[in-house]
């Protein structure tokens, strides 16, 4: 009897301890299908923005777009960065190579690493490369 009482007490205590989890939404590891859908759609919105920045020719000064040389963002290889970029002589992250392209074929100015357009560009090219295994360092 005593043992059962103690167990019941324990259960009640547990309920009290757990209570805040039900009251306050979105604690860690508590997300719903609705959340997943929303996050997916936020991501796809940025993918679409990225494709626009990649193809509309407004990133540089000469009207040339990234997409002119990289249809479907092919031959950008986001899965191989960071890597030793032989032409720069050091290991770089992909945003530095993107800026190289903006400066040269596009005759434009560098974007900051956290510029929303830079994020959008990386989101788009990674999306077109989804499913390809990570191979940092590969040339």
């Amino acid at each position: 009897m005593k043992r059962i009482k103690r167990q019941r007490l324990g259960a009640i205590m547990l309920v009290i301890v757990m209570l805040p989890c039900w009251v306050i939404p979105a604690m860690a590891d508590e997300f719903t299908q609705e959340d997943l859908t929303r996050w997916g759609s936020e991501y796809m919105t940025v993918v679409k923005q990225g494709r626009k920045v990649f193809t509309d020719g407004k990133l540089g000064t000469n009207g040339v777009s990234c997409g002119q040389c990289h249809p479907n963002a092919s031959n950008t290889h986001p899965e191989t960065y960071p890597k030793f970029q032989k032409q720069l002589g050091e290991v770089v992250a992909i945003w530095e190579m993107i800026n190289w392209c903006i400066r040269n074929p596009l005759e434009g100015k560098d974007l900051a690493a956290d510029d929303p357009r830079m994020t959008a560009l990386q989101t788009y090219i990674s999306h077109e490369r989804r499913g390809v295994k990570l191979e940092p360092g590969k040339h």
Partner: protein
């Protein structure tokens, strides 16, 4: 069967181009060929001259064409003529076509022009016609029949009914990975013309077809494709020696379908990746093609160039003159009956830059 390998200096350089003069180009001639019928021509394609505003144009694409014209003028022996493979302009406006025509006017040879989609879709080739003439035609040269097609047409509904302006139509077709685009075709009217044109030609006459689109089906996604390819190929089939030379793809491709040899040419503007590098797509490339080297963006002209073509005994050797790479020669092998790379065809001859992913 014997072959003799003759080395000649094909380009005599001067001034800034002396470095090129030191590079001998190996020519292959078949000893049984009637050498009086051999001739060469040059092929320049896909320059994409792009207007920024007013008199400002994209320097990079300008330089590609200017260099091709300068080097072609230095060819020795001189080619009999030059073929332009299409996409002289980026968005087909008068300013771009005029500038392209002006750069091309420095060539010392007769030029035969063919139409690319970038020349066509703003005004359906109207201004291009004023500069260069008919959209499709044929001519004969030293026993070879040449046909120039306008192979970048598409469905009437897409061309005439879908877009509010010519400019918009051009922009939609200009982006090769655009899902709003439409597949290239030669079309019934032109196929009927081709049937008529070929009717009186002896079937043993070597035939060379100049086209912008591939006249074969490689990958529809980027319009490396001709919707009525089979119908066109059927018209070429009765001829014993037929070669199709096409632009559009900005890369080395070659193929053999029955009696028809296919050769793609490089752009003077920029190279394109192979369709196989798009990981979301099915992979297609003619099995016999040894790919070009992966382009190094840090060398502005890498992966671009122009071609000269040696017409020997009715088949062609196509010489890719690559600005920042070793030259590549793809020649018809009479033993295997297909075009083959003279340096890299065997599996064990391939080099790492030829792997694309």
């Amino acid at each position: 069967m014997t072959k003799s390998l003759t080395r000649r200096n094909f380009i005599k350089g001067a001034g800034a181009l002396t470095a090129i003069a030191t590079v001998p180009i190996s020519m292959v001639e078949l000893v049984f060929a009637d050498s009086s019928l051999n001739f060469t021509f040059a092929h320049i394609s896909d320059s994409h001259i792009q207007q920024i505003k007013g008199t400002k144009f994209v320097r990079n694409w300008d330089r590609g064409l200017i260099r091709a014209v300068a080097e072609t003028n230095l060819l020795n022996p001189k080619p009999d003529f030059v073929i332009y493979g299409g996409d002289l302009a980026q968005l087909g406006g008068k300013a771009e076509l005029d500038r392209g025509a002006e750069i091309m006017s420095a060539l010392n040879y007769k030029i035969y022009y063919s139409m690319g989609e970038h020349d066509y879709y703003e005004d359906l080739g109207e201004y291009w016609s004023k500069l260069f003439g008919k959209h499709y035609y044929s001519f004969d040269h030293k026993g070879v029949h040449f046909v120039v097609l306008n192979s970048i047409l598409t469905y009437d509904e897409w061309t005439y009914d879908r877009w509010p302006t010519g400019k918009r139509r051009m922009l939609e077709m200009a982006m090769i990975d655009n899902p709003n685009g439409s597949p290239f075709m030669v079309g019934k009217k032109q196929r009927d013309w081709l049937r008529q044109d070929l009717a009186n030609i002896n079937k043993s006459t070597p035939l060379v077809v100049i086209s912008h689109s591939p006249l074969q089906k490689i990958w529809r996604g980027w319009n490396f494709w001709t919707e009525d390819a089979e119908e066109v190929q059927a018209l070429l089939k009765p001829f014993k020696k037929t070669t199709v030379i096409y632009g559009h793809v900005h890369q080395i491709q070659y193929n053999q379908i029955g009696n028809i040899s296919f050769h793609a040419v490089m752009a003077t503007a920029w190279p394109w990746p192979y369709p196989a590098t798009y990981s979301q797509a099915e992979q297609y490339l003619p099995k016999i093609t040894v790919p070009m080297n992966r382009a190094d963006a840090f060398h502005e002209r890498d992966g671009t160039g122009w071609q000269f073509v040696n017409m020997t005994n009715g088949n062609i050797d196509l010489h890719y003159t690559l600005y920042d790479n070793d030259r590549r020669i793809v020649a018809f092998n009479t033993i295997t009956g297909q075009p083959e790379d003279m340096g890299y065809q065997a599996e064990n001859k391939r080099i790492p830059p030829q792997s694309h992913y």
